[in-house]
Symmetry: C2
Subunit: 429 residues, 2 copies
């Protein structure tokens, strides 16, 4: 399936060896971490939280060098903002780690247990996944965030941050390693890949013998490149093309509140609405009520021909609009003739992330909830609730668009897997 | 990360289009199948079982042509045997489908439900994965087997069998499609990829937008090639390098029975033992008891130096022996000084499949069960029990060596995933 391997330079081989060595150490650490008690894992997190507060100034200084280099290198304002660690952000980072420490142990409890016909006692128990690789972009607080989630769930973490944040990440990683060691856990439990060479990232993606799962956190370009090239299983966090469908007979005032919230409250996130579908029966009164609110909030409207007949002057939604994640104050609107058409449209054009129906009919809601093939489906609520904290998970790894292992909001439990423990009394087949 | 794409011929493009078309139809079928009732899904399976019995002769005739072509083409005796459908094997195929029909609905039941602080009612419900691609080798009964498991769990199946079995597989697939249609389910619920071109398989591996998971069933070479090249998540069924560890103070007669069973009862399967570890305290009496039984069963023994001091004349186990899956009557034996050494050895050399301790100490068993990092860990039982039927799952998709989604024996439930259904009363953030 592949052709001959390209010639590799000595430098390539060095990078490969370096990454392989880090991965081996992560694997060894993972074996020990898996049997650490929750008290030990959470104790390490509390030490880390305290140390982040103590070293806030040193972290800020390292970060200032990154920000200066970024500015000199022509980094845009938005990226510079994401890169910057203010005192408030450093305090939020410490507080986040302490909150994760206080959550219930995700490894506790037996999933199922039963005795087979032949008398074997089988328990399915939760265990950490093992070695979790996280590849992320500019925000340095992700370093502490992800380390906390992985440690709490007993996983060794291998972190690869963006090169623009390397000094900030290194300062945080040094402190993590020191406190992890002081807490009696393996020093290699959290390792930062300090090479900024992209070949180091590529080498990580080939480490399917030592890394168990890779979680990319960043823009769709990053996620797609990783998903395409990784031999290690990837938990993807792709785009959300989320829909609000306003049914015939819906409470239009509720529908307008939900649609407005889903589009406007935070348009740049994956659970914001991109497409609005409206049943023909209620299209005119609903759109005439909603459009002025959206326009007042600065939302640009695009529509199908029937929408444009109701809201003259708005642009025509092109085919591409229906499957674009704007992440911006833009909304595509379509009038549909039936619940079926809405369901089909969402299944065709959506991204399987989050979709909602506003309706007064429980029966029609049930059909929507059953037939829309998305990770999270809503009745009479905004799609913005797709979020680990809103779900009550206490912590969020991200929102998975995978169909297997973890779907939708990922909390600590989604960083675990299981094994079967079988007890016999000399059983043979 | 990749270099320039190679030039593609028109034929390549045709194959790509053909596979893409089949995949699109599978996706559409999956959407409808997901909401079919268990009565419909199981009813289709009962029709299929009856039809296989009716058409046993026609299936045998198609198979005879494959077998003849295989013989003429120089296929080896073992492969010819696996390819051949005897009347008994056809009956077993029908019976297998009927048994799957009678199993409980894997889609039934709510995994968790709770109400959030803000009053959203969240249910985590089981749903089919969607489109399952299965790539397998010579045995044509896999076609009916896998189709039954996928249909029962509400998944559309895309089957790619070996080219040596193409006529047998086509005869079975035709009958499947006819009965699925007659049962009122989408005709594309089970499709056989009839191209025997390997480019068709390669095209399947690129269909990450339409295929949700690929399950390779075949030798380690097949599985590894697929895992390395697939953009679609793969549930691997790799090798099992399984260990029996005989602890100090173990019941040696029980230990001998378990070790003998694990090695000899069916040496060619993944849950058979490959390495035997014996605590130094009991090595001499144990090995002197077990070795004659193993030799009488035709087992070739290889050992470490301390083993060879007890069993003179056996070959030295090389470094490679410790991580070789023999799938044959060969056993590598090592004397260890402690439980820790055994655990470390297994975690280093095993494949994370199935490993057992024979001991009288519950405390030492607990340490082994906790610290050995394998999908199934045993106390006082043969590793041969790692099997969906022995576990009581009623059906077996295979034995996963993945660490996420499904680990160990996979039954119908492991062909499902979940979604979150959220009910609000106008909730906005």
């Amino acid at each position: 399936m592949s052709t001959t391997a390209p010639q590799r330079s000595d430098e390539d081989a060095d990078i490969e060896r370096h990454v392989a060595d880090i991965c081996r150490r992560a694997r060894a650490a993972a074996r020990r971490l898996a049997h650490a008690s929750d008290a030990q894992r959470s104790g390490a997190l509390l030490r880390i939280a305290a140390r982040i507060r103590q070293e806030a100034r040193a972290i800020a200084q390292a970060n200032a060098v990154d920000v200066e280099a970024g500015r000199a290198g022509g980094l845009g304002a938005a990226l510079l903002d994401r890169l910057t660690l203010t005192p408030e952000r450093i305090e939020a980072m410490a507080a986040g780690v302490a909150i994760v420490a206080a959550l219930p142990d995700p490894l506790e409890g037996i999933i199922r247990e039963w005795t087979t016909e032949r008398g074997l006692e089988i328990r399915q128990v939760r265990i950490p996944i093992g070695v979790v690789g996280v590849i992320y972009e500019s925000r340095p607080n992700v370093t502490a965030d992800v380390a906390a989630l992985c440690l709490k769930s007993g996983n060794a973490a291998l972190l690869k941050g963006g090169k623009e944040a390397i000094r900030s990440n290194a300062a945080i990683a040094d402190l993590l390693a020191a406190e992890i060691t002081a807490a009696g856990l393996p020093p290699d439990s959290v390792q930062l890949l300090r090479s900024t060479d992209r070949r180091a990232t590529e080498a990580m993606l080939r480490q399917d013998a030592t890394i168990d799962v890779i979680i990319p956190r960043g823009g769709p370009g990053l996620v797609r490149a990783i998903a395409e090239h990784s031999r290690v299983p990837v938990i993807r966090h792709y785009e959300g093309i989320c829909h609000t469908y306003v049914d015939s007979g819906a409470d239009l005032s509720m529908a307008a509140d939900i649609a407005f919230n889903a589009k406007v409250q935070r348009p740049g996130v994956c659970n914001a609405m991109e497409n609005l579908l409206v049943h023909a029966d209620v299209a005119r009164p609903f759109l005439e009520m909603l459009a002025p609110r959206l326009r007042a909030a600065g939302v640009e409207l695009r529509g199908c021909e029937r929408t444009r007949a109701i809201l003259p002057g708005i642009a025509t939604a092109s085919e591409a609009d229906w499957h674009t994640e704007y992440l911006d104050l833009i909304l595509a609107i379509k009038v549909v003739d039936s619940l079926d058409e809405a369901i089909d449209f969402i299944n065709q054009n959506g991204s399987g992330h989050s979709d909602t129906i506003v309706t007064r009919s429980r029966e029609r809601a049930d059909r929507f909830l059953r037939e829309v093939d998305s990770a999270t489906v809503y009745e009479n609520a905004s799609t913005r609730f797709t979020d680990g904290f809103e779900f009550g998970f206490g912590a969020e790894v991200g929102i998975s668009t995978n169909r297997i292992h973890a779907r939708g909001p990922m909390g600590l439990r989604e960083l675990t897997t299981y094994k079967y423990v079988v007890r016999g009394q000399g059983h043979v087949r």
